[in-house]
Amino acid sequence: MSQPARRDVLKSLALGGGLTLIVGPVAHALAPRPPGQPADPATRWALLVDTRACKVDCAACVDACNREMGLKQPTDPDFDPAHDAQYIRKVTLRDPDTGHTTAPPVMCQHCAKPPCVDVCPTGASMQRADHIVQVDKHLCIGCRYCMMACPYKARSFVHQDLTDQKPHNPRGKGCVESCNLCVHRIDRGEPPACVAACQRDGGGAMVFGDLADPNSDLNRRLAEAGGHRIRADLGLDTGVYYQGL
């Protein structure tokens, strides 16, 4: 894992005097990957959520995710909050001292050191070379140890038979699933559905990009305004940053 830590990237940014030349990994812009080519280990796909631009009552990202992945919407009449899958959810946060309220979306945080991958007995929970954390559902035996291990409650278990799944998101009874940053879209050169929807219909709060690419928009914004990571104390080196929390 020769992944440059974010700190180092920031440091080299500072040393290089802002956005000038940096010797290091080449820039990895979002582009369709040609058939036959594996995911690139020099990439670290990541998200940035600017909660100041994220409206409390907007759920464009959740909506888009559920539609893309073929999940039920929380607004559906037959939605079962205890059992139905939620890859992404809006968590309403109220500061008891000031009363200030935000509602950032929370999804799989795509840890660089994912506990779900560590605990999975079969290796079904896995990290792709480009640092996307996902379930290889062909190996998942449904033990749910990953759900016990995830600090973010990012995972869901499929509790019953499903029909009419989306061809790009096969899912079925007895396996665990979660946000995979829309691998199928990334591999086609498109950003995750939630990000696309947030840019289009939402407040433009979500940014998708390559954390390993110092010139990415994501890194530029982080260098400008910093970022917070959920439960950073656990040292999991998550790939989802929040601003304005």
């Binding site: 058939p35 080519q37 594996p38 995911a39 792709r128 559902k137 062909h138 061809p167 096969p170 591999d187």
Partner: protein, 136 residues
């Protein structure tokens, strides 16, 4: 002790087998019997070609699919031309109303042989068993 010398026995068995086969052949050749002995594989989209000659596909499709899925999911290597969804678009089977059947239907391409050979695959508990743009 047998009346026949030991080493003649294989030859004898072979002769008996051939005789039995010769007697059975006319029966086997009737279409009705053939239909019961071999599954009726639905034809693929006309004017297309499979990833390999049909005989080879019959033998190797499971290994191809397993290899493909490992590469696709774990390494991120996409090969749209060899994907499971692509198999299903060439091998879509329509029912009498022109609707593409799902794996629920015994006429589904992946079921004809499997039902016949008593093989069950769990793929379609997750994977869509017909193209997304199929009329439904």
């Amino acid at each position: 002790m047998s009346a026949w010398p030991q080493r003649r026995r294989p030859a004898l068995a072979l002769a008996a087998l051939l005789l039995a086969l010769a007697l059975a052949l006319p029966v086997l050749a009737t279409p009705a019997a053939a239909a019961e002995l071999f599954p009726q594989v639905p034809a693929a989209a006309p004017g297309t070609e499979c990833l390999a000659p049909p005989g080879e596909m019959r033998r190797t499709h499971m290994d191809r699919l397993t290899h493909r899925r490992t590469e696709a999911v774990r390494a991120g290597i996409r090969q749209p031309a060899e994907s499971l969804t692509r198999c299903l678009s060439c091998h879509a089977v329509t029912d009498t109303h022109g609707q593409v059947v799902t794996a629920e239907d015994p006429r589904h391409f992946c079921r004809e042989c499997h039902d016949f050979a008593a093989v069950t695959v769990d793929c379609f508990s997750c994977h869509a068993s017909r193209p997304e743009d199929a009329p439904r």
